[in-house]
C-alpha cells in the first residue's frame, strides 16, 4: 500500500510540472505575444485594456516559469540526495564486507594454520562484522520506512529500561572486547508510551554515533532517569565533540560534520536523522550538548505516561 501511494505521488509530481509547462505557460506566453503584436500594429480598439491584459499575462508567465524552475530544482535535489544516499550507504556496507572477506581469505589461505588463537580471533571478527552489516542494513530500511510512513509504531506504556538495555547489548556485540568502556545506568521505572523497537533503534543509533566520533580510549555511558515528570534517555561520550555552528544541522538527513574537529567519520549521515524522526513520532524531543574536544551528550526526552494510558 505504502509503495503504491509513493508511486502515485512521484508520478503526479512529474505530471504537475508538465501540466504547468504545457497547460499554463504556453497559452499565457502566446496570449502575451498576441497582445504585444496587436499593440505594436495599432490594431487594438482599446490600447489600455490590451496593455493591462498583456502585463497580467506576462506576470503570469514569469510566475509560471519560476514555479516550474523551482519544482525542477527540487526534483534535481531529491535525485542528488538519493545518489548521495546510495554512495554513502554502499560505503557503510562495503567496509564490514571488506573485513569479512579479508579475514575469511586469511583463513582459507591457511595463513593461521599454526596459530589457532588468531584463527579463532579472526572468526570472532567475521561474526562481529556481520553484526555491523546487519545493523547498517537495518538502518537503511528504518530510514526508508520512516521517510514514508509515520503510523507504524506500536506504542505501549511501560518502562524504557528493557529497550535501552537490549540496545546496549546489541551495541556490545558490534565491539571487540575492551574496545569501549560502556556503562549502563537505568534509574526510573516510570511507564512511558513508546515503541520498544523504535526506542531500541534510537539508542543503538546514538551509541554507534558516539562510537564513531570517539577516537582513543572510548568511554560511552547510557542512562535513564526521571526528571520533572519526563523520562530522559542520555548517551554521553568522550569523543571529538561538535562545533557550536553545527549543532543545528546534525539531525538533518545526510549531514555529516566537517573535518575541523578531526571527527569526520564516514557514513551515510542517517543515524541522527533516524533518531530525531523516531523520537518525534513518539511525542518526544532530542537535545544535544557538546564541548569540542571533550565529548557530546545526546538526551532523548519522552513524556511519562499517565496511569492507565493506552495508545
Amino acid at each position: 500500500m505504502a509503495r503504491f501511494r509513493n508511486r502515485t505521488r512521484s508520478l503526479s509530481f512529474t505530471r504537475l510540472i508538465v501540466f504547468l509547462a504545457v497547460g499554463v505557460l504556453l497559452p499565457v506566453l502566446l496570449s502575451s505575444v498576441v497582445g504585444i503584436v496587436s499593440l505594436a500594429r495599432g490594431e487594438s480598439s482599446d490600447p489600455i485594456v490590451t496593455g493591462v491584459l498583456v502585463l497580467s499575462f506576462a506576470a503570469a508567465a514569469i510566475g509560471g516559469a519560476l514555479t516550474v524552475s523551482v519544482l525542477l530544482g527540487r526534483r534535481a535535489r531529491l535525485a542528488r540526495l538519493q545518489a548521495d544516499l546510495l554512495a554513502n550507504v554502499s560505503h557503510d556496507l562495503r567496509t564490514p564486507l571488506a573485513a569479512i572477506r579479508m579475514y575469511a581469505q586469511t583463513l582459507r589461505m591457511g595463513r593461521l594454520r599454526e596459530d589457532p588463537q588468531r584463527a579463532e580471533d579472526s572468526l570472532e571478527v567475521i561474526i562481529r562484522e556481520t553484526e555491523w552489516l546487519e545493523t547498517m542494513l537495518e538502518r537503511v530500511l528504518t530510514w526508508r520506512s520512516a521517510a514514508r510512513d509515520r503510523g507504524l509504531l506500536e506504542r505501549r506504556a511501560e518502562p524504557v529500561g528493557p529497550a535501552v538495555e537490549e540496545a546496549a547489548r546489541r551495541f556490545e556485540r558490534l565491539l571487540a572486547p575492551g574496545e569501549v568502556e560502556l556503562t549502563v545506568a537505568i534509574h526510573g521505572q516510570a511507564p512511558v508510551l513508546h515503541d520498544r523497537q523504535a526506542i531500541g533503534s534510537v539508542v543503538l543509533n546514538l551509541l554507534i554515533n558516539a562510537y564513531k566520533y570517539s577516537l582513543h580510549e572510548k568511554r560511552i555511558s547510557v542512562s535513564v532517569q526521571e526528571l520533572d515528570g519526563r523520562i530522559e534517555i542520555a548517551v554521553a561520550d568522550n569523543g571529538v565533540g561538535i562545533a557550536r555552528h553545527e549543532l543545528g544541522r546534525i539531525f538533518e538527513p545526510f549531514y555529516r560534520v566537517d573535518s575541523s574537529l578531526r571527527g569526520r567519520a564516514s557514513g551515510a549521515g542517517l543515524g541522527l536523522a533516524i533518531v530525531r524522526h523516531l523520537v518525534e513520532a513518539q511525542g518526544g524531543e532530542v537535545r544535544v550538548e557538546s564541548t569540542p574536544g571533550r565529548g557530546s551528550r545526546f538526551a532523548v526526552w519522552l513524556p511519562r505516561a499517565a496511569a492507565g494510558t493506552s495508545p
Binding site: T95, A176, S266
Partner: protein, 238 residues
C-alpha cells in the same frame, strides 16, 4: 614474499604503513602484512597517519580515503607536495572512475576498492615494492672527492672503504649529494630528512653535519665538500 635481493643492505623487511580508521580492517591488514614478511605499522586517523607517513620512512603506504581528521587524499597531496616519494596504494570503498582517477592523479601508485581480494592486494604490494627496489638498484652511484654513495645498497665509502652512517646521516648526505651546489636551508633539511612534526631545531642539523664532516672530510675543521653557507644553510660541493 620474494626473498630480498642479495645486494639489499641488511635483510631489513619492507616497512608498510596502514592508514585505516576501521579497526577490524586495520588489524587484519597488519596481521596479513606481518604474515607476509613485512614490518607493518598502523594509524587510525588522518593526523596520526600523516605524522607517521613522514616519520616512519615506510617503503609503502596503504591508505584509506574516508578518514577522521585529514582525508586520505589530503595526506597524499601533502606527501607529494613535500616531495616524499614513498609509494602509496589507495584502498577505498569509493569505486567510481572519478575517485580512482583523482587518487591516481594526486600521486597514488595503485588503487584497490573495498571489498578487495587479499591475494590480489598482497600481489600488488609485492609488485610496488619490487619496482621500488629495482628503481633503487638502477640509480647511479654518486661520487664527490673520494666519497662514493651507492643508492642501491644504501652504502657510503671513502677511499674505497665502507663508512658506517646512521639512517639520518645517510639521508642527509643523499639529500645534499643529489643536488650538488644547491643550498639547503636548515628548515628544509629538517622537513625533508626528519619529517613533518619533528620537534628538532636547527642545532640538530648542525650536529649531523659536524658528524658527517668528521666521518668524510679529510680536515673536518676546513671542509672541502660539506660547506656552510652563512646565514642560510648547507651545500655540498663536488
Amino acid at each position: 614474499m620474494k626473498e630480498p635481493g642479495a645486494q639489499e643492505r641488511a635483510a631489513r623487511p619492507p616497512i608498510v604503513l596502514v592508514i585505516e580508521d576501521d579497526r577490524a580492517l586495520r588489524e587484519g591488514l597488519l596481521l596479513n602484512f606481518e604474515l607476509h614478511g613485512y614490518r607493518a605499522l598502523g594509524a587510525a586517523d588522518g593526523e596520526e597517519g600523516l605524522r607517521q607517513a613522514f616519520d616512519a620512512r615506510a617503503d609503502l603506504i596503504v591508505l584509506d580515503v574516508m578518514l577522521p581528521g585529514f582525508s586520505g587524499l589530503e595526506i597524499l597531496a601533502e606527501l607529494r607536495e613535500k616531495r616524499v616519494d614513498v609509494p602509496v596504494l589507495i584502498l577505498s570503498a569509493q569505486d567510481t572512475l572519478r575517485h580512482k582517477v583523482a587518487g591516481l592523479d594526486l600521486g597514488a601508485d595503485d588503487y584497490l576498492t573495498k571489498p578487495f581480494e587479499l591475494p590480489e592486494l598482497l600481489a600488488r604490494t609485492d609488485a610496488i615494492l619490487r619496482r621500488r627496489r629495482m628503481a633503487r638498484q638502477a640509480e647511479p652511484k654518486i661520487a664527490f672527492g673520494e666519497v662514493v654513495i651507492d643508492p642501491a645498497g644504501c652504502q657510503v665509502s671513502l677511499r674505497g672503504r665502507g663508512v658506517a652512517l646512521s639512517q639520518k646521516e645517510y639521508e642527509l648526505l643523499c639529500l645534499l649529494a643529489r643536488a650538488p651546489g644547491r643550498v639547503f636551508s636548515r628548515g628544509e633539511i629538517l622537513d625533508r630528512v626528519w619529517g613533518f612534526g619533528f620537534e628538532g631545531t636547527a642545532r640538530t642539523v648542525d650536529n649531523f653535519i659536524l658528524t658527517l664532516r668528521q666521518k668524510l672530510e679529510a680536515d673536518p675543521s676546513t671542509p672541502r665538500h660539506l660547506k656552510t653557507v652563512r646565514q642560510v644553510g648547507y651545500r655540498l660541493d663536488p
